[in-house]
Symmetry: D2
Subunit: 323 residues, 4 copies
């Protein structure tokens, strides 16, 4: 059967609540809003919550700032700072730990290039600390970074590559950056999800079938993601849903139509969507300006991560260290 594709915990919750009354059992929600930035913390507390949400136990914090769509330097700074705050809150980052930042996704596919683009502007210091410990010693955090590519280009599962690097350089923390799928167009490039669960099979828009998480790597994994596409099937599905509910509104529940609609839904919805989207494929919906939007949000992500990992450096010092 067709299922709505989303990598965002807040959307998994919205979908659940569409069909159920009350909050999800085993899930707690904490919402704040400040300066045009909405922060929602979805905590999956136990197996019941995990099953209802289709996601592992852990915290999923979403930063939403719809106005990022319009360039606003002050807002961008605030979102970067907010991201830094969340990363510091959700992990044990401090100047003594070693962090490895992984940019997931494919350079050559615009909406999937977010991870590699962010990596480009991470302040990388591991080699400096090793080569010149006296000069760079206690002031900076050891950070390394990598864009491992995707299975179709390397022939190697991304999780295998990450695992082998982690085994070699033994970081205390891994941060992954990834492009996500959302079910809401307005979230594209304006929403950041940070979770302490790592990456689980099936998520992301690329082909990442193995987990990148505490269990597989042996170190905590913070996953940072930004939706850059909506699945075209979601759009088709939404259109059908809207029509159904419009029809139902105009129909008394004891009319034959009502039952036709209810029954159609179960049997034929997926067939309809398939027919709309033939040839069945990896079809995505994006704003035409996606190249520009990704450029902006990736700059915010790298700034936020740099702020979190290098609290003792000024912006100029960071810029000088970035290639």
């Amino acid at each position: 059967m067709f299922s709505i594709r989303t990598d965002l915990a807040i959307e998994a919750r919205e979908l659940y609540k569409d069909g159920h009354a009350g909050e999800i059992p085993g899930v707690s929600i904490d919402e704040k809003e400040e300066d045009g930035i909405k922060t929602v913390k979805v905590s999956i507390l136990n197996d019941e919550g995990a099953k209802a949400m289709g996601k592992p136990i852990g915290d999923y914090i979403t930063i939403e700032a719809p106005d990022l769509r319009y360039r606003d330097i002050e807002l961008e700074d605030k979102v970067a700072q907010k991201l830094a705050d969340v990363v510091k809150e959700i992990s044990n980052v401090n100047v003594n730990i070693k962090t490895l930042v992984i940019g997931l996704g494919n350079w050559n596919v615009t909406p999937d290039a977010l991870g590699p683009k962010v990596i480009e502007n991470i302040v990388v210091t591991r080699h400096l600390k090793e080569l010149a410990p006296l000069q760079f010693g206690d002031n900076i955090c050891s950070v390394s970074a990598m864009a491992p590519g995707v299975l179709g280009i390397t022939g190697i599962e991304t999780a295998e590559i990450v695992k082998s690097i982690v085994d070699k350089i033994k970081p205390d923390l891994v941060i992954t950056i990834d492009a996500l799928a959302s079910r809401r167009i307005e979230r594209l490039a304006t929403t950041i999800q940070i979770s302490n669960t790592g990456i689980s099979p099936g998520s992301g828009i690329g082909n990442k079938r193995s987990a990148i998480n505490m269990e597989s790597l042996g170190v905590p994994v913070i996953a940072i993601g930004v939706p850059t596409v909506v699945d075209a099937a979601t759009i088709a599905n939404d259109a059908i849903d809207y029509l159904e509910s419009a029809l139902i509104k105009n129909t008394s529940s004891n009319s034959p139509l009502y039952n036709v609609l209810k029954n159609m839904d179960k049997e034929d919805k997926y067939a309809l969507i398939k027919e709309v989207l033939t040839p069945e494929e990896n079809l995505i919906v994006t704003p035409k300006e996606i190249d520009l939007l990704i450029k902006n949000i990736s700059s915010i992500l790298s700034r936020g991560i740099n702020l979190a990992l290098q609290p003792n450096l000024t912006v100029d010092e960071m810029n000088q260290l970035v290639h």
Copy 2:
């Protein structure tokens, strides 16, 4: 009201035929298929045909090769040669005329970059003929090329730029290359439309509001276009249409449902689509691999145009002249 967005004459015809019996008055059709390449010539013969199709009088030849999706060097060569044949058939290209090739669209927006990408590999010779007429004299056709950018980046209507260059260098023929919108996903990057009508207001996926045609420029204009996006509204519309027809099939025409559906259509379809696609925007549907698909088709286009314009040059001679 919502209208399906397509730049292809064959799709305008399909849309017409959905609602009408018989062929369109004032339009003639000629179809051929050979070697996995289907060629359809839609000729709009008079004002009646132009009105029904929403396009100016003239010939629109479509080359369809769905297997271009899978790399096949032999098929690519055949399509390039077919494009060359159609350009020669539809224009008065010969070694004595001067041709200006215009790559419409925006470098920085992946699905709109087709035109500029094609221009990169056009064999440009105008300056060689002017600087060294004896060496390059009678054997090569004078070709110049340009990517004028888009209104949002230049502040100047593209048609104004083209007109001013044409007035200055006085070509005998203008060929435009443009990314189009299709209503069928399977046509993306696998279909080429060649027409002798030029570009009219409103077509293309960019912002080209003024005409680039015989009337505005004073020389014949061959417009070559390839669909690279489907409008997201088309997907939503298709989903609604499919659901409607499925419902109608299950409903007798004298049931109240039948009338509800018929009435809904007229009033609410556009509202539904708007709701699905909020925030209302320039939303496009593409295959995830669009970057790669555009790279391939743009290479086919430049080869086909070079073959049409430079019949006396070998492939090696063309390569040496291309930057």
Copy 3:
């Protein structure tokens, strides 16, 4: 004979002073230094000065900030502001005039891509003022922008393209952006030359053979250039010069060696350089990091030009208008 290739007036002056005592007749110099930014105004006052300098009569203002090599946000802001000040001083920019900004050079050649890169971030407003005069009316300056490409790619002289656009849209001021050749490595991507003479035949690193200036266009032309390459022949020449002067220092002027050296110079220097650089070609010397350096300086240029042309807009308003 070999001649040092430079597009900078301050270097033409240095070369003259190497062989002559005193200042150049017909040339006045004004130097300032502030905040790590050196500003030199070379004014060529008459034909005598023009002949000695090999450049047209006019003002050439150079902004030098060697520390731009190391990322320093504050310095970058100051240089952008300084550029804006110089543009305002040297031209009659005001909110009522129409400006056309031209990015010269070739997208596909890294050190020649400066002009097109700058254009990308110019705040373009001409179409907004025309389409919505009430909304955008008196507050913003009408700006259009264009990257016309280079002769080898278009087959059309760049000057012809610019002339045809100028004739069409009739700006009051043209600003050109161009990559230059310097004779000093330390000036690459750290020096900006602004002149009110436009572009004259032979300058620049591309193929621009016709003038883009007041005389050819009928409107004032401000030329902004940044050196991005040193000609490899300059490096070879410098090596030979250094060796000669080292030898001469060790030789009394009545020794036979002294005369050998003096005579060698005249006859064989060019032959030596040719031999070093076989196969004779368009060889350039750049820092390995040239891609990054050009990215930084092009961002400074676009900010400076935007500040000069749009004094009534905030940075956020500019960002929202830039694509």
Copy 4:
């Protein structure tokens, strides 16, 4: 002291022969020329040869085709086939072994991007063989590929990354692709060196300080390199050498000049070069068209490697497998 920078064995040999009579002890040479392609095999046979050449014991085969500078499809095909033949001759490639191809260098630095660019077009099959062994079984060779980035961007020694991947996926053969430095401009992008020694500290134009070879990885390493830059110091040095020898030719060996020149050389040459190239930096000399030249040669490399590793696939089958 200054030393000429070259990564090519044939140039190390030329340099040796400049100062010595006869062939290098411990080195054997085998030269062939066919169809405009010169192939030179330099075999370093023992420690004496290794010391004289400054390179490890092993075979270094150079394919030189100066006419690659002018696009010539037939020559490109021949060079790709020649590369395939050399790889097959120098390694034990066959359909049963697993190969890992490593693209060394930096995406963001044009002349250093050769390795990553080649990787893009390698036919990668390891995952296909693992996921669908029956379909892809015996006909194709298991190939994986990776561009590990450079130390300045990852903070991790490239050799460490490669070692950790090799330990994980256990290939039978590693092939590295790298941009090299040459001392001859005419070799840029027209010469390919293939060696069975892997990569040793200090070679390449990037920062690769640890070895990637049989000893460090435990599997054979074929290193394929193409010169894309000449060190600017080499140009300065050549200029000085040419002047010296011109002066010496004009001087009798008992004149005082002769001795001055001989003495100067030892003391001051390096100081002179430093003075020419201040600020001392990573200065490179390239043809202006380097972007285009690298695009062409990288396409030849990936074709040659694909031919060597996948002898049972047709060109169309390869294209379909390449992303």
